[in-house]
Amino acid sequence: MGEKPDVWQGTLALMVLRTLETLGPLHGYGMARRIEQTSGDQLQLNYGTLYPALLKLEQEGFIRSHWGVSDNNRRAKFYELTKAGQRQAKKAAAEWEQTSEILARFLNPAEEA
């Protein structure tokens, strides 16, 4: 059985922020499915771990939530980005890009002169 990588610490928050940034208000289940899809089913996301991350982001003021009705007429709790969340999404994305760029240099070292 092929092991799928777990979600790395700290990256889940960024994934949530980015997902909400592109798709707008979304409930937890939809978000979990979307993250799996976006990763091309490469990530094994334990859906339960999503909720503590959502609570943390909400407590920090980056997202807010309200109860609404889903596409299939079900009651669900929807999350959306706040102003601070939009700023944070951009900031975290930029930071992550920089980190991965640096790491990339180690993984593919340039030819020695």
């Binding site: 937890g28 334990n46 339960g48 771990t49 943390k56």
Partner: protein, 886 residues
């Protein structure tokens, strides 16, 4: 910022648990339903779809746990649980907890009380704008001899020439005046200040303003907040209104901030008038153009960026310049400076040493209290090893156990801290109530301010943590196996006299000494009340007036007193009315050297004699017997000087010669003695009988006036207080602006004379009590520890047939041995030390048999009570339980 926001939300969540959790359950529910629906849509059976949904969600309970912790603050919850557990544990050992809190409380209370003095006199800055740049200047003389006031010309030269200061102000420290307002006139003390005083000190004003330039001589006044409240009903529109000060109209310009009673924080003054106007109130002020008259205090505001050092250097330059320009007055002059509001330089080092010594003593008291409580905790820790071992075996970490123990001792520390603060609230207010017998108004009240609270908090925390360290460390590392079996894992084979025992013996011995001294002072207080003071104390009403304040000439003052006496004597219920300068037993007075004229000069030829003024009838009114000669009559200031002396004067100055018509030399003035009266106590209760010379008030008032006013003594037929209103009315009829002060009956006055025996008894009573409590707690702790160590031994004894009574006696005997050793050591020490207290005792011997006989049995009784609690516990040991763990 987001982290902080999250913290507050979680803190709020901690206080409102419950409904949020059901919200999350709803969310999970909707998640599962949506997932199931998708599964069904993909072709799974409803059961299978639901199974998949739950599996993909993962451990629901774990998630819920994470969410719960994330909502609240888990560490806070576990801390509160530990505190609750700690409180329960402490509650279970009520006796030990009470003893521990009481002794730490006494220790912290003593520290907080002493520290409130330090805070008040050393740390508190003056309530003026930026106290750090305000300096009080002093002049020094003869090469750095500290410290004198300034003359006006020297002040003016510094003000005009010094470049270090943005402003220099001066004031005269004390001016008495009578002030009107609501009710009868009142005598108050104020200061005369230069017009820039309020600008230089940057004093915040409650109302109106301070003086401004151009008001040097204005008849204007700034009121103290207390005076404004008391006399003018806190009139918010008082600025601009007139008030009457010693009969002169003054315009109020402002009210000073409530905390301000004068720059130096010890004198208590309540009004400020311009210096140039001060001669209206105090005619005796020196001439401002005289460079040799030092009567002003100078305060200076440093320019921004100028340090005290560079200012001192400039002042030094100025001093040498003055010395050259004015050699007659300014030779060897120098200037010193100090931050305003700090202790006066002359008394500072003595007071600092006093405070430091007191602080060391009370810290020592706290250390002893702490050692006792540590003993007690150690005894408990020994008893709790089973408990600890079980918790360790069940998986609690040692760190967790240590935290628990530390938490308990910290709780004890805080309990003691709270008790200590309460005690210090009481003790500071009791200390502030003691009126210092000083002729000028002083504010030496102390209180518990934020610095004291902070200090007490730190002390409680520190003592709580220190107390818990050793027991916490020891209790959290019992040998698991042996502790579970009930063996004492802390016990070490010990010597018979451990440090613990020696500490207790020293404490009890010291408390023997303290109790003996306390007993002596209590006995002294008792016998002081039987001292024969030599004059009548019942049915005498006293009131003081100071006509000089209202600008009366001495002759007018004398006439005023004469008229007043006649009018008061005519009142119904009044037997007689007489006057003096200072009532006897006022703590101080005037004195001079007397001798027989022509006797050879020698170191002992002048006998120090107390001086009192008296009017005709004074001796009859006070019930002082006349032994020979006559009373005063109608003496005049220009007539030959006469005097009446007491028996001690006849014995000591005249050496028993016939006193009547004898001439005596009083520091150069010749007196003819016309009468002899009985001895009275003149200044204090404890004094040896002193020679006294009474002079005629009519004759003396002109050329030797009293600076503290005159006292009218009214002998009444009935209750003296009920005559007060009528007597006051007579004074106001003569002059409505005359302020009356020191109104009291002779009985109240005598009570104040008991100040010394009272305060000695109160102080030593307190110390004796603290010492006794500490020693008792110490003994209790040691005996508790001994019992807890010997639990199994006692169990074996009881299993072998020992009766509970015998076990009780076993423990009591051990405690009694410690106590007896201490008494044997302490009693002779107390016997020797009591001689030091001899000069403070009234009417009893330092080796007072009663005291020394009562203290040892009393102490042994207390010791028995302290040992009785652990002894009872030892006797109630269940032999089976104690041995079952074998």
């Amino acid at each position: 910022m987001p982290k902080l926001r999250a913290f507050w939300i979680r803190l709020a969540g901690f206080f409102t648990p419950g409904h949020k959790q059901s919200d999350f359950d709803d969310e999970l529910q909707s998640h599962i339903e949506m997932h199931t629906e998708d599964g069904i849509r993909a072709g799974l059976t409803p059961q299978e779809a639901r199974r998949q949904a739950v599996i993909r969600l993962g451990g629901v309970e774990q998630t819920r746990q994470v969410i719960r912790e994330r909502r609240g603050l888990p560490w806070l919850e576990s801390l509160l649980r530990d505190i609750a557990y700690g409180l329960r544990t402490l509650g279970k050992h009520r006796g030990a907890t009470a003893a521990a809190i009481l002794s730490i409380g006494l220790g912290i209370g003593a520290n907080a009380t002493i520290f409130s003095m330090v805070s008040r006199f050393v740390l508190r800055p003056a309530p003026m704008g930026d106290p750090s740049t305000l300096l009080t200047l002093y002049t020094t003389h003869d090469g750095g001899q500290c410290c004198n006031h300034f003359s006006y010309p020297v002040y003016a030269d510094i003000r005009d020439q010094a470049k270090s200061f943005s402003g220099v102000a001066a004031y005269n420290e004390l001016i008495p005046a009578s002030i009107n307002g609501s009710g009868e006139p009142e005598r108050v003390w104020g200061q005369a200040v230069t017009s820039n005083f309020f600008t230089v000190t940057q004093l915040p004003m409650l109302l109106g303003r301070g003086f401004v330039s151009g008001e040097e001589n204005a008849q204007e006044i700034v009121l103290g907040a207390g005076l404004w409240r008391r006399r003018f009903n806190s009139d918010p529109l008082i600025a601009g209104k007139p008030v009457t000060l010693s009969g002169h109209p003054y315009t109020v310009v402002g009210v000073a901030s409530p905390a301000f009673h004068g720059v130096d924080q010890i004198l208590f003054t309540e009004f400020w008038v311009p210096l140039g106007n001060a001669p209206v109130l105090a005619a005796s002020l020196p001439n401002p153009s005289d460079r040799g008259q030092h009567y002003l205090v100078v305060v200076a505001r440093l320019n921004p960026g100028v340090t005290q050092q560079s200012a001192s250097a400039e002042l030094k330059t100025l001093a040498s310049r003055f010395a050259k320009s004015y050699p007659a007055t300014d030779k060897d002059i120098g200037f010193a400076s100090d931050q305003s509001g700090s202790l006066p330089p002359r008394e500072r080092s003595a007071m600092l040493i006093f405070f430091a010594a007191l602080s060391v003593v009370v810290l020592l008291v706290l250390a002893i209290a702490g050692a006792n409580v540590a003993n007690l905790l150690f005894a408990q820790a020994a008893g709790r090893q089973r408990d600890m071992a079980v918790r360790l075996a069940l998986g609690a970490t040692r760190g967790r156990l240590r935290r628990q123990m530390l938490l308990e001792s910290t709780l004890l520390g805080f309990g003691g801290g709270i008790l200590g603060v309460v005690l210090s609230l009481w003790s500071t207010s009791a200390l502030s109530r003691f009126r210092l017998p000083a002729p000028v108004p002083l504010d030496v009240s102390i209180g518990v301010d934020w610095r004291v609270l902070l200090y007490s908090f730190a002390l409680s925390l520190a003592s709580g943590l220190l107390l818990g360290l050793a027991p916490a460390w020891a209790a959290s590392r019992p040998m698991l196996a042996s502790a579970l079996k009930g063996e004492d894992a802390l016990a070490r084979p010990g010597r018979r006299f451990t440090l613990r025992n020696i500490l207790v013996i020293v404490q009890i011995a010291m408390s023997v000494i303290l109790l003996c001294v306390t007993g002596l002072f209590l006995r002294s207080l008792q016998s002081a009340s039987t001292i024969n003071i030599g004059f009548r104390t019942d049915n005498i009403l006293m009131m003081s007036i100071d006509p000089g304040v209202n600008g009366f000439t001495p002759q007018r003052s004398a006439d005023f007193i004469m008229q007043l006496r006649e009018r008061v004597a005519a009142l119904p219920g009044v037997v007689s009315a007489v006057a003096t300068d200072i009532p006897p037993l006022s703590g101080g007075g005037r004195s001079d050297g007397f001798r027989i004229p022509g006797s050879p000069e020698g170191p002992n030829s002048w006998i120090i004699t107390e001086l009192f003024m008296a009017t005709p009838g004074y001796f009859e009114s006070l019930g002082i017997p006349r032994l020979a000669g006559t009373d005063f009559g109608s003496e005049t200031p220009t007539g030959p000087r006469v005097g009446i002396v007491n028996q001690a004067f006849v014995d000591q100055v005249l050496c028993g010669r016939n006193p009547i018509d004898a001439q005596v030399d009083g520091a150069g003035t010749m007196f003819r003695i016309i009468g002899v009266v009985g001895n009275v106590k003149s200044r204090t209760l404890g004094e040896e009988t002193r020679p006294i010379m009474y002079r005629s008030l009519q004759q003396t008032i002109a050329n030797d006036p009293s600076f503290m006013g005159y006292a009218l003594l009214v002998h009444t037929a009935g209750n003296p207080s009920s005559a007060a209103q009528a007597v006051r009315r007579q004074i106001y009829n003569l002059d409505p602006n005359m302020a009356i002060y020191n109104e009291e009956t002779m009985e109240q006055h005598i009570r104040a004379a008991f100040f010394l025996p009272h305060i000695a008894a109160a102080l030593f009573g307190t110390f004796g009590f603290i010492g006794l409590v500490l020693a008792a707690v110490g003994l209790y702790g040691v005996m508790s520890y001994a019992v807890s160590r010997r639990t199994r031994e006692i169990g074996i004894r009881m299993a072998l047939g020992a009766k509970p009574g015998a076990v009780e006696r076993l423990v009591l005997r051990q405690g009694l041995v410690l106590t007896l050793i201490a008494v044997v050591l302490g009693w002779p020490a107390a016997w020797m030390l009591s001689k030091l207290a001899a000069s403070f005792l009234y009417g009893i011997q330092p080796h007072d048999i009663f005291t020394f006989a009562v203290v040892p049995p009393f102490l042994i009784a207390i010791a028995l009570v302290a040992c009785w609690i652990p002894a009872r516990r030892a006797a109630s040991i269940d032999a089976m339980k104690a041995l079952r763990a074998e």
